[in-house]
Symmetry: C2
Subunit: 194 residues, 2 copies
Amino acid sequence: MYNILFEHLEEKINLSAGDKEIIKSYFISKILKRKKLLLQEGNVCHYMAFVAQGLLKSYNTDEKGNEYVNQFTPEGWWASDMNSFFSMQPANYTIDALEDSVLLLITSQDFENLTLRIPKMDRYFRLLFQNSLITKERRLVNSYMLSAEEKYKQLIESSLNLVNRVPQNLLASYLGLSPATVSRLKKKISLDHK
Amino acid sequence: MYNILFEHLEEKINLSAGDKEIIKSYFISKILKRKKLLLQEGNVCHYMAFVAQGLLKSYNTDEKGNEYVNQFTPEGWWASDMNSFFSMQPANYTIDALEDSVLLLITSQDFENLTLRIPKMDRYFRLLFQNSLITKERRLVNSYMLSAEEKYKQLIESSLNLVNRVPQNLLASYLGLSPATVSRLKKKISLDHK
DNA sequence: ACAAATAGTTGACTTAAATCAATTGAATTT
DNA sequence: AAATTCAATTGATTTAAGTCAACTATTTGT
């Protein structure tokens, strides 16, 4: 179960057998069943979760109860409310499982301890956050520059795997569009291809 | 001129006098006059810039010539096209100076060398990117969840200093709104306060 | 395998914000 | 200080996408 974690770390840094033992000792594993919550908006986010298997989503909810999906996290990626995790403030996001999932959790205290004990982990997370930042920035710019149709097309091109695992209404939410709009776009695009 | 850089680094990590000498040696300083470009969309971004004084903006342009401002970078912050800088691919953004500015530049090769020579710098950038990521995520969610009026109000509350240094049409662009809309919102809000 | 819950489609209608254009006002440049 | 460029305002109009609602199709849990 830790293999997938080490594989991902080793894409960015080299680890000795000893490093791996140490790293292992900072994580605890958890099974999160479909629809169960990892984090509830308003609570402090105590864990950063590496998804070893399954799929999570994080979202927030406005006064009217509308859900805004912020991120999907499949195997090999990390999920948390970073603001809450690093500042201990109440979380803005709720995180739950879209599929039965296996997680490796680390607390914020242990995150700190781990990076101090193994400085390479700072490098790993520097590279991880750097890449996430590039992706988020792209998404933000797209949200301003692209039409609904272009957003939907880009998502299909860049994340076909996700598109097949996630209900269309959640993709709509992720794109900042209404389910009706995405349904119409899907039809339009399939007609355009004929 | 390096003092402001060191102050910022020392908010996140401790530096010895020796560290500072080494760090200094990796940067070159540059004066960038108002309206001059640091980076042109389509070129590779060779530098990451620490703004010691002044104010930069980064933006991209669509086929129709519309500009979409992506970030303002005042003193004490970093500017670059991160994707281009770290991957050597052509940049998506253009970066220019809104005010006469003083920059400290580091090349991507030297960035790599510096983090390898002083691992604490990985920690610094881990923390920097971590915070940027939190901010970008907030902006992304706001772009979906908030109305034009709420976006504008939040910007005023959170960044009054910027609001006073940046022309209103660029703030509009940064918020993903048209200049006309921002002008109307400004009027509406001032009336609401009476 | 069935019932219940959830998701997707489609039409009619609304709406927030964009666009266009004319005018006024402010800042830079020479 | 005048000229020129750039920024802001405001009204009239358009438009992309949202909302609402009724219906159908698909998934999920028991």
